[in-house]
Symmetry: C3
Subunit: 139 residues, 3 copies
């Protein structure tokens, strides 16, 4: 069994945003030499997500508006968590809806994807350095 590990680093200039990381995961897969197995891609921070969906700018704006309606950032005083000095309680909720991780099949050395699947980093509390883990096992 082979295993491979890589960290992807991000520092978004805004509080929230989505970044397509599919190519970086594919580069890791190529480096790993694994042709059959699984790749785990997960946010290493608890106010960020990794998810698979469509690379369409309108949809990303829809997600932003929708997540804000389900877990509003303001007023920050509505969340007990923010009494710790943070203002990111909403980010912990948005991350639960969008998810922490994805697991993707590796077949014949490639991400085994349907036609529109793309991997995204979802940032909900940016403006600081944060990481994503890519872990591959297989042979």
């Amino acid at each position: 069994m082979k295993s491979y590990r890589k960290e992807l680093w991000f520092e978004l200039p805004t509080r929230r945003g989505f970044i397509n990381i599919t190519r970086q995961v594919e580069m890791g897969l190529k480096e790993s030499g694994v042709t059959e197995g699984l790749v785990l891609v997960n946010a290493m921070h608890i106010t960020a997500s990794v998810f698979i969906n469509d690379d369409e700018a309108g949809l990303h704006q829809d997600y932003e508006k929708w997540l804000e309606s389900l877990a509003p950032h303001e007023p920050v005083s509505q969340y007990l968590h923010n009494r710790t000095g943070e203002d990111n309680a909403d980010a912990h909720m948005k991350r639960q809806i969008m998810g922490r991780e994805v697991v993707v099949a590796i077949t014949k050395g490639k991400l085994d994807f349907g036609p529109w699947e793309q991997i995204f980093y979802g940032e909900f509390d940016g403006r600081r350095k944060k990481r994503v883990l890519v872990k591959i096992i297989g042979e």
Copy 2:
């Protein structure tokens, strides 16, 4: 290490619906010959889900109503994504709540499930052919 891959195809006559795919995953597991490992079951489309829950018709109607309240289909004009010519932005949101994939343990050649766990395909934009991937690794 053994690996196994299978696609399950669906074409629901309705926009939304849930299909129990547990038996099809079990058949794949049997074909794979894997007795210890992991099975990944994921929607290959970004307006569909694979999830584990109860096979109870009332609950499925509750899910339908609940998901529609959290991410309504109508009016389709409320979503920027639908300006691309689609009318399925809500389906991209429902899928995030229900999830893209499940990973299930394989122990002694069986899906290592609790008493009520069943695997479902969740369709949120049907009336066309769509796929689920079953990928098994182990030995």
Copy 3:
């Protein structure tokens, strides 16, 4: 390839609650002897979750309030599922938002975590015995 399986048992005295199970997963990992691989941790019941987030009491109260706003327990008659004699339809919904499972990378014999990641059991229909599965594969 090595594989390892362990069940964690819980019986919460309340309907809902969160329990940090990180140490129990780490003990399982140590017992497994696996140094490179993946660990799957999943609720074996469909009204409970396993998720990764922050071990902060205020946040957990925020989650409780937020989940109750998205999928209220009362009135129980609003859910068709509760006509089966259950009163836990809301728990099946809360579990979908928080998720069934997490997959965590194992690197050099440790859970490959960011600085604040902790694994939680999320109970939404307690006051009875329920289980979590820890399954490890790797070498």
